[in-house]
């Protein structure tokens, strides 16, 4: 967190802590406590939705679990309040584990559906067991249970105590989020902006999302438990799907992914709800009937103005956010410390998609410290080969070896640990990150410190942070991007963004680099830049496999070239050898070469057509 936001949080907390000494009416104070607890649930949701990019309509369900578990444990089992609260949060977290396990891998739309079904499932479960939950009346918590026992002394918890407790938790949650962001902020942003590219870079996308959803469920459960204690009842109408929608709206309205977004969101939502209820009752409706309409109206308002939220809008409106400064020069001179490149082998690899063989018994062997370029017509299986080596897909047959050791699990993060890093064809960079932060996300697979130690900023966590930053800086140095470290990624040119992808791959400290069409879409002028980066990496000892169409670049950087056609290796050798190979000419130039050959023989021009068509069909 930067200093300004930290001061805002502290100042707001101090002012808020004084509220009970001004507001003397119990009901008003209790309503303020409720608002703070909703904020707590929303801060938790922001972790999943804003940072990990998993839009969840399940937070109301987690809050409901926490509320009912806490109420039932306190009343029926006579548990102490703190322990019951922890148990409530734990039960919500357990449900969160089940939900997160599936949801972490899903496309965003299905995340919404699954969590929506979860919210309803919890609501039905509460209605289904009136013996336990009190049915429509809810599970009420008598005054006598609202006592805090410590050291043999019982203290009654009044509205003021609840208010201050809620405030403390809100502040802890916001500062905790900020601490988590210090460790995971860049990783989160990388996952949000392009999960596929993040996976390819070895970032454990599913695990990070799982953790974020789990944490958000636990915070939701805790907020639910406190809500029930504050209200003196876990009441079925206060939780469940409608609360899920409300919290979803709060996060979206303030701005998903902004630390203070939920706080802004809750203020606006409560104000609009208040006005809406007044209007509804004045025209003769009931407050309960008005609720879904009000929630729908706010939701409609949020999506109508885009889904970036108020803080983003305010920043742009007040011009607080400076447009990124374009740095004029990034250096072409680089410094790359020597590495020991790995020997990469793919043996007998076969992959088929729905009966179509994408790779057919393919083997390549790349010597350490050499640059191996794979070329071939579109659809010949080049990218599929990189995906298999990078662990994105498991081959039907065959295996990948680095330095003679077989890499078993098809998992990009495992591959990153084994020293393989891959870049994708496209460059989708998160605009909110600086170049250094983006490259830092690439260091994720080699970091050893998890969220808990990051939260308390243990010495090991600090060392880990320093080491990761060093690796990121080293990667920038190696690619000549050091001067641009502090500018935002979106201000880089297309060619520089290509180089940036390579820099991120380097941050995981690989020994084998897989680059998928690094020169796609960049001009001739920028090509030399890319070439010098690749040259210096090879000179430093990296083993590099490149898929590339740009024959100028291929000729300049390749030690060896392999040519694929329809999933088969049709030639392999030095640039000159391959260029002279007639099979390569025919396959690589495809239809035209066939035509030329046919014309040259001047007899059967028709012969060429069916073959070319057959190739297209295979694609």
């Amino acid at each position: 967190m930067n200093g300004a936001r930290g001061r805002i949080v502290v100042a707001a907390a101090v002012v808020a802590a004084l509220v009970p000494f001004v507001v003397r009416r119990g009901d008003l104070l209790s309503a303020s406590t409720e608002a703070l607890l909703l904020l707590l649930a929303a801060v938790g949701l922001n972790l999943a939705m804003g940072y990990a990019g998993s839009p969840s309509l399940g937070q109301g369900g987690f809050a409901a679990l926490g509320a009912y578990a806490t109420a039932i444990l306190v009343v029926r089992e006579g548990w102490d309040i703190p322990i019951a609260l922890i148990a409530g949060a734990a039960i919500a977290a357990a449900a969160g584990m089940l939900v997160a396990r599936g949801v972490a891998r899903l496309r965003p739309a299905f995340v919404v559906v699954a969590t929506w079904l979860f919210s309803w499932g919890v609501a039905f479960a509460i209605a289904a067991f009136p013996g336990l939950t009190g049915g429509t009346r809810g599970a009420s918590i008598g005054e006598s249970h609202l006592r805090l026992r410590a050291l043999g002394v019982g203290t009654k918890l009044g509205p003021v105590a609840f208010y201050e407790i809620a405030l403390v938790f809100v502040v802890i949650a916001i500062l905790g989020t900020s601490a988590v962001l210090r460790r995971y902020g860049a990783t989160f942003a990388a996952i949000r902006s392009d999960p596929s590219a993040a996976r390819a870079a070895g970032i454990p996308v599913d695990r990070v999302r799982f953790g974020a959803i789990l944490a958000s469920a636990a915070v939701g459960g805790l907020a639910g438990g406190l809500l029930a204690l504050n209200a003196g009842v876990a009441d079925p109408t206060s939780y469940g799907p409608l609360l899920s929608v409300k919290l979803f709206v709060v996060v979206l309205l303030g701005g998903a992914g902004y630390l203070l977004g939920p706080a802004v969101g809750i203020i606006v939502v409560l104000a609009v709800s208040k006005v809406g209820t007044v209007i509804a009752t004045s025209i003769g409706g009931s407050a309960a009937h008005a609720e879904p309409f009000i929630a729908a109206a706010i939701l409609a308002g949020v999506i109508a103005f885009g889904t970036r939220g108020l803080i983003d809008w305010l920043e742009r409106f007040l011009l607080l956010r400076q447009p990124g400064e374009r740095t004029p020069t990034t250096r072409t001179s680089t410094s790359v410390p020597a590495v020991q490149g790995g020997r990469l082998q793919a043996l007998g690899v076969a992959v088929s998609f729905g009966g179509v063989a994408a790779l057919d018994d393919l083997s390549i062997d790349v010597a350490p410290g050499t640059c191996h370029v794979v070329i071939g017509p579109n659809g010949s299986g080049k990218t599929t080969l990189l995906r298999v080596i990078g662990g994105a897909i498991a081959p039907d047959r065959g295996a990948i070896y680095v330095d003679g050791r077989e890499l078993a699990d098809a998992d990009p993060t495992q591959r990153a640990h084994a020293g393989i890093a891959r870049t994708l064809q496209r460059t989708a960079v998160p605009p909110e990150l600086t170049v250094l932060e983006y490259v830092l996300s690439g260091a994720e697979p080699s970091r050893r410190i998890g969220p808990l130690r990051a939260l308390v900023r243990s010495p090991a966590a600090r060392r880990d942070e320093t080491a990761a930053l060093e690796r990121a800086r080293g990667a920038l140095e190696a690619t000549g991007l050091s001067d641009a470290a502090e500018v935002r990624t979106e201000t880089l040119s297309g060619a520089e963004q290509r180089v940036l992808q390579i820099a991120r791959a380097l941050a995981s400290q690989p020994r084998v680099l897989l680059l998928d069409e690094p020169a796609a879409g960049i001009g001739i002028a920028s090509e030399s830049r890319l070439r010098s980066v690749i040259d210096s990496l090879r000179a430093a000892g990296f083993t590099i496999v490149i898929v590339e169409h740009n024959l100028r670049l291929v000729g300049a950087v390749a030690d060896r070239v392999s040519v694929l056609d329809a999933g088969k290796l049709i030639a392999s050798g030095s640039v000159a050898e391959v260029a002279a190979d007639p099979a390569v000419r025919s396959a690589y130039l495809g239809y035209g070469a066939d035509m030329i050959a046919a014309r040259a023989s001047a007899k059967a021009p028709d012969r060429a057509r069916p073959r070319a068509r057959a190739r297209r069909n295979r694609v």
Partner: protein, 314 residues
Amino acid sequence: MSFGLVVQVVISGLAAGAVYGLVAIGFALVWRLTSVLQLAYGDFVGGSMFLVLVVAAGTGPVTATNVSVWRYLIAIAVTLAAGAAAGSLFYFGILRPFIRRGSTLGWIGAVVAVALVIEGALASAFPREAYVLPDPLPFTRWAPISLPGGASLPMRTIWILFVGLALAAATGYLLTRTRFGSAVEAVSSEPVGAQIVGLPIDRLTALAFAVAGVLAGLAAIVGTPAGGTITTQTGLLLGLKAIAAALLGGLGSPSRVYRAALLLGVFEAAVVNLHVPGFPSLSFGPAWGDVAPLALVLVFIAFRAGRSMREPVE
């Protein structure tokens, strides 16, 4: 469980599943054709139910049979027409800008907002605990078919199963055998390409939503619970279970989704009727009827989510 009970469980499960199937087919159809997950679809079904009620019998108390067949037929016609109109209006009026922008959060928000509005409107306009939907089709006149073990197969169940199968076949035909089906699939899977080859994207998508609206109306009419008792939440509940069934079916072909829905119905009936002799605590009972299907689909998503639901790995 006795043999007769097992048969009865399967039959009542199939009957319930067939109704989920009708709605699930519509839900999956919208997804296939427009890449929108229509979370408000159950509410469209609920709205259709109450539209049938109002047109056929007004808001006064009705019994299942005191409505004239003519008025009932008019109600059906009105409901189906309204379903088509609501479907295309939903697209043009609400969803289109978000789909065009490719804003997932946008269309999700719109769909959820519409669901809340329909739920809220039904709850305000129909304050009574429950309503009876007229059902003049003479199923009660025919005796149920007796099966071995004391089970019986009501004619209504056969009717629902038959209509479900027919609709699954019809939507399957629509998707795979008609120009409309292939054109809309093209729009859904490759919008830019579809536009380049000159497909009228707007009209096709609106038509897809209209078809789904008609399906919602049909599901409301055919899927009336036995006895005709409905509440303002009947459609919503049906929609949630249908979504669960559609997800279990991998949002695939109509017949696959329909089969998944039948299985879900049988699963629900089995859970509700499960009694283990000597272990009363292992008997779930009817309370689990609404919880079990949703729990099942959440477990399914956690362990076996289909390819169509997962993020692609490049």
